[in-house]
């Protein structure tokens, strides 16, 4: 596709730049370019590693990741299992969505359970009840037990300033730790996945996508998501400036009034720390418009755990978090 665009050319080394019409060919839209980059990375990891797995929570970013994987290997099956770290505090409809998706694509599902670690006394419940930070131990345990040498994640660099410095292929040591001071330079589209025994690599193929890219892609590709992402009526109560759902693990305190509101979720995580936003966006197109006009980040809006400190994500990542 060729279009006549105004483009800037320098007419010589001694004059100022002027705008002149030049024939340029617009080949790929930004979504196509991001999709192509992600598929290249997914294929590269499968080609270079013995035993990859994909972190799949049923959240939108991991759903997009899985969709990209199906496109990368079509008409073959996705050639790796999916791994879910179950906090035990998940929304039931998300677990249902996870199971249906795994079934539809004929995948193997590996579950690391936070609850089992707590029951065995290997993890302690936090005072604030949040289980997101507790996911690291079962995650590393599942990686070790299954001998996964590469783990795909749906992390994006626009999410957080710690993520902004994360590599697309990120080396983790025996303890799953991320060392921001010792990262490999990432050059051209050549990804260095070399690792030694005990180390593994986290791969983030959608590093360069923004939240809006994700939603536009979901719209374009007609990707199914858990219903939570769209506006629905729900019993909620206000806590920490967010709307929390009433559920088994998320009970209001006596002074917290329960009301029914039309809400949706921008992120889907642990029920005990993920908040809903008031929204009338009932379809994917509504959400695209809402996200584009949003004035607050998805993590700031809906994740209590990221409000703990300015460096909350940095600290969790260093300890081996996603």
């Amino acid at each position: 596709m060729s279009t006549l665009n105004d483009t800037l050319v320098s007419t010589g080394s001694t004059t100022e730049p002027v705008i002149e019409p030049v024939e340029i060919s617009t080949r790929l839209s930004s979504l196509d370019a991001l999709e192509s980059e992600a598929i290249h990375i997914i294929r590269e990891v499968v080609a270079e590693f013995e035993k990859p797995a994909l972190l799949f929570s049923g959240g939108k970013d991991s759903v997009v990741m899985l969709h990209l994987a199906t496109k990368a290997f079509w008409p073959g099956k996705v050639p790796f299992p999916v791994l879910h770290v179950d906090t035990g505090h998940n929304f039931p409809e998300v677990i249902d969505f996870r199971d249906r998706t795994v079934e539809r694509l004929g995948l193997k599902l590996v579950v690391g359970s936070v609850q089992e670690f707590i029951d065995r006394g290997e993890l302690a419940e936090r005072a604030d009840g949040t289980r997101n930070p507790l996911q690291t131990v079962p995650l590393l345990d599942a990686i070790q037990k299954n001998k996964f040498d590469a783990v795909f994640g749906g992390g994006r660099r626009d999410e957080d300033k710690a993520r902004a410095k994360e590599r697309i292929l990120s080396l983790r040591d025996e303890f799953g730790q991320w060392d921001p001071r010792n990262q490999r330079p990432e050059l051209w589209n050549l990804y260095n996945g070399r690792h030694t025994v005990g180390q593994h690599v986290r791969a983030f193929p959608i590093s360069n996508w923004t939240e809006l890219d994700i939603w536009r892609y979901i719209e374009r590709e007609n990707i199914e998501l858990p219903g939570l992402y769209y506006a629905h009526d729900r019993e909620v109560f206000a806590r920490d400036g967010m709307w929390r759902a009433v559920g088994e693990v998320s009970q209001p305190l006596p002074h917290e009034e329960v009301i029914t509101k039309t809400v949706r979720y921008r992120t889907v995580g642990d029920m005990s720390c993920t908040g809903a936003v008031e929204s009338a966006a009932a379809t994917v197109s509504d959400v695209v418009i809402e996200v584009a006009a949003s004035t607050i980040t998805e993590r700031g809006a809906t994740r209590a755990d990221d409000r703990i400190s300015e460096a909350a994500m940095e600290d969790r990542k260093k300890d081996g978090y996603f």
Partner: protein, 489 residues
Amino acid sequence: MSTFNTPVVEPVETLISTSSITEAALPTTLFRFATAGSVDDGKSTLVGRLLHDSKAILADQLDAVARTSADRGFGGAGATGTQAIDLALLTDGLRAEREQGITIDVAYRYFATDQRSFILADCPGHVQYTKNTVTGASTADAVVVLIDARKGVLEQTRRHLSVLQLLRVAHVIVAVNKIDLVDFSESVFREIQADVQQVARELGIGAAALGTADHIDDLLVIPVSALDGDNVVDRSERTPWYDGPALLEVLETLPAADEIDTQLESFRFPVQLVIRPQGALAPDAVAAGLDVEAYRDYRAYAGQITEGSVKVGDKVSVLTPGQGPRTTTVTGIDFAGESLEEAFAPQSVAIRLAEEFDVAGGDTIAAAGTVRESSADLYAALCWLSPKPLREGAKVLVKHGTRTVQALVRNVSGKLDLASFKLEAASSLELNDIGHAQLRLAAPLPLENYLHHRRTGAFLVIDPLDGNTLAAGLVKDHPGDHEDERYSI
């Protein structure tokens, strides 16, 4: 540190209009650029300004920055009584960095306008400037180099420009920042502009300097004030003597690297893996009506087109190390259930071939007759990125395209003095050095001159012991082969 005062509550003019969002079909293109310069040049403020004015900074991030500004006693209350903020903090990174007052490495930022989505690689300028600039520039369509108007062209500017020329970045924009601090003086700007152009001529940057396609296409020099926003997003009235575009206008209109057609560009496709389901077809595809019988013997080669384009029916050569090129015809180009007639760089596709060759991951498919024999002798420029120095006789790994082979460093033939652009005698390379070396590969690779093939001419040097990346490599022609001496750095 550069600072700037913006009342938090002041409505910000946005570049994203809701009208463009509702027209979701409107395709925007992706543009990758990097910034090079030091904190003193006001780079953080410029990046903060671009992000802020393009509404990439959301309210909670701005609040956090405002809180931090207040905690650190920045500025105090602004004229409107609201907290002044230090926009440089928007690009402030990790706690580890804040504690030490340094920037560790490249950070990636995102913003969009109606025309384009931008990926900005924000490269810190001090200690490991070569490592960071090489990293950021390797994927960039354009690089913005900052100069402090009060200081003019420094040795670091020359170093940055020479690295960018070495990496053949398509567009270089020099932002002469802090023009407000020299009272918007035209003469100061003209003097710096002339100096920049002098350096560019020495380096061979710019269309007028060379008149051929395979070099930095253009070099634009723009007077800006990141602090006040002059010529960053909008053209400034305070520089009436400058009638060129503002920085963002330039970034919105420059052609991306893959939009520039060069006559030298021909189809290249490093194969990543073979898609051969042998009956293990995707259940969702089968449920959607895929003809199971027809796909029983399906075999296609998956990869990303690194340059050029390919059509069904094209003659191609398959390059496998240790074998001569084998020629065949493209019978199909598939992408996730779609059959394409033609595909371009940088699309990821799967290609079917007429012949049942034994093609494996690591092989390259190329337009027939456009590639020369694979070679085990590698002559290269190396940008050394590791604290572990390179010594002659070292055993390393070379990753080229989708293949990794062992290699022996036969000799180091010189080191580039980035300030003078001259090659000096050297027998080892240290961190941030750029030098020339000759390597002997354990298996031949389809090496191509980086000057003409930015992807297939690039490789990584990897430490076989710990797997770390040691160097960015740029393939040079063999001595005696035709090579344009003007490019010989």
